[in-house]
Symmetry: C2
Subunit: 148 residues, 2 copies
DNA sequence: CTGCGATGTAACAGTAACGGTTACATCCGG
DNA sequence: CCGGATGTAACCGTTACTGTTACATCGCAG
């Protein structure tokens, strides 16, 4: 993960859907979402595909096709979202070329770093779990300009 | 930050120096460090340059030149190291193309995400601050294979 | 049962960043 | 003033991400 904007886009998509589905007649399509995110519908479909694999959204094909949330916004955390789009790459990368094993530091540094990075990952996940899509929607709507 | 291995290399370098300087006669050169990290000396010098800007190491030029820690290993935290090599890029990236401001979600999503990402950054920094280079050195040496 | 509008996915292009490398100027103790 | 190291610019190959085109697939409406 990162530097990519997948988590960002995924949260945007889910929050958008949470707002959109307040109107029971509305149909969420990748086209409509793409306008809000200001990108290509294929990018949105790629993202929605990952969210579907994680069981967060569902898709319907054929005529009148589209997407809807598979769970209540209150029950979807940013950790769920992170897991859905995180390519299981760690947050911090280890050496690109394996250190020298004949040096004491080179030999032991990677296991030691793995422990540290594991704790960092834990901290991030703990924090992500505290916010839901419903929270995001509330915060996003609170940002609106005064409509005079 | 990340996916790069700069933090990883920087911690490796500092931990190596902490061990090396136990021998008062030893001189830490980018060449020697590069062997342990298994990379090019220029990569090490680039890293050391950032660590020097942050006041963590010092360099000496001319004959018998080399590097040494500017502080005790016990007083250098991984947060110091992170700050030294982190290009002030945030841990998680915002949208690459600005969302539509005419959509309520597109308008408010970035400020809302900034708050969340700020909390994540805080959590990571808090965790990084709990470990020092001295801790790393101890943990690294504890990984050594039994020397029969 | 055919058309249409959407999903689903492969393929490709452009950009950017990273790690690695070469080259070379600079410094300064011996 | 020589030698060995720092300091730094420039460049290359690789990789990843975003955006885009293209096209097969699905399934209700009419």
């Amino acid at each position: 993960m990162s530097g990519n904007s997948r988590l960002c886009v995924a949260v945007h998509v889910l929050t958008w859907m949470a707002l959109d589905q307040r109107d029971p007649a509305a149909v969420a399509t990748s086209q409509r979402i793409a306008v809000s995110v200001n990108t290509n519908p294929v990018v949105i479909r790629r993202c929605l595909g990952q969210l579907r694999e994680a069981g967060l959204v569902q898709s319907r094909r054929g005529a009148g096709a589209g997407w809807h949330l598979a769970r209540e916004p209150e029950s979807i955390t940013l950790l769920d979202t992170y897991r859905a789009v995180g390519d299981d790459e760690p947050l911090f990368a280890l050496h690109s070329s394996t250190p020298s094993e004949s040096c004491p530091i080179g030999f032991g540094i990677q296991p030691a770093l793995r422990q540290v990075f594991g704790r960092l990952d834990e901290a991030v996940r703990r924090e992500l779990a505290t916010t839901t899509i419903a929270d995001m929607l509330r915060d996003v709507l609170a940002q609106q300009p005064a409509t005079a």
